[in-house]
């Protein structure tokens, strides 16, 4: 089952924007980069999760096309920055799993980012709507 989901997600990542693969559009990378930290923190708002679960949840969404290299590197960086904490727990399927959860600093960062995101999307919507009226 996990294998099928992985294959589907891989296919989902191969999208095109403006006739080019999303990944090869530099502006897509730029916009996505700023969102990744926010998205990882948002996934963990509901509680702790291990890396592969976080990856599966995020790569299912259109346009994100997240891969293990991005997510695991980001988890390591956020842990080092004190926004996440990690603990190991036994797994029935293999080696111990590393569960990530938000620290108090991570919670605060997520609240700030959410407020900023709401403000900025509202502004962008206004600008786009004004442009359409002309």
């Amino acid at each position: 089952m996990a294998r099928d989901q992985g294959a589907k997600s891989k296919a989902a990542g191969e999208r095109t924007i403006g006739g080019r693969a999303a990944e090869s559009n530099p502006w897509v990378s730029q916009m996505r980069k700023g969102l990744l930290e926010f998205l990882v923190l948002a996934v963990l708002r509901r509680g702790e999760a291990y890396g592969y679960i976080i990856l599966k949840e995020l790569r299912g969404f259109e346009g994100l096309s997240l891969t293990e290299s991005t997510v695991y590197l980001l988890l390591a960086r956020l842990t080092k920055d004190g926004l996440l904490r990690a603990r190991k727990a036994r797994s029935p399927e293999g080696p111990p799993r590393r569960y990530y959860s938000l620290t108090a600093t991570g919670h605060r960062r997520l609240v700030d980012m959410t407020a900023y995101w709401k403000a900025i999307t509202k502004s962008v919507d206004h600008v786009l709507a004004a442009g359409e009226k002309r």
């Binding site: 294998r3 992985g6 891989k10 980069k33 290299s69 590197l73 797994s91 399927e93 590393r98």
Partner: protein, 162 residues
Amino acid sequence: MAVLSIEANERLEAYLADVAEILRGDGHDLVDIKNIIDSLREQIYEIATVDGQRPASLDEIEQALGEMEPPDAFRAASRVLAIKTKNRATKRALAYLSAGLSMGAVLIYFAVAAVYHPVPAIFGFGQVTALAAGAASWSEPVGRFGAICAALFIVGSFFRPG
């Protein structure tokens, strides 16, 4: 807990070693590398061991690895995320500086000590610099060597006869 056959485990560890090598080359620290490798191992186990009661075969591991990114993708991801890593070239330079100062100072020390007493303080400064450079480049084997030599030299200087 699911286990892998010997050949499947070897194939898995070879992939993980390639990723670790790339991360090391990019200057990630050892803790980060271990975390990332552990996460990858968990993921591959989960994909490959559909039936947790029997060892995953080499074919199953190959299939799971086929769904993974190639190790080079981790280098690209580091750049995309602009993760700041210590420059490997700088670390290497510090490592060789440390080892060079340690060994050079030891050799010159004995040469100078044969003529002058006490030995000029510059050798002490050299060893302290070697220790600092070695500590800063601890992830490099040469850096560790330099730092340990310098530390031994400094400690040894306190027990010098006379």
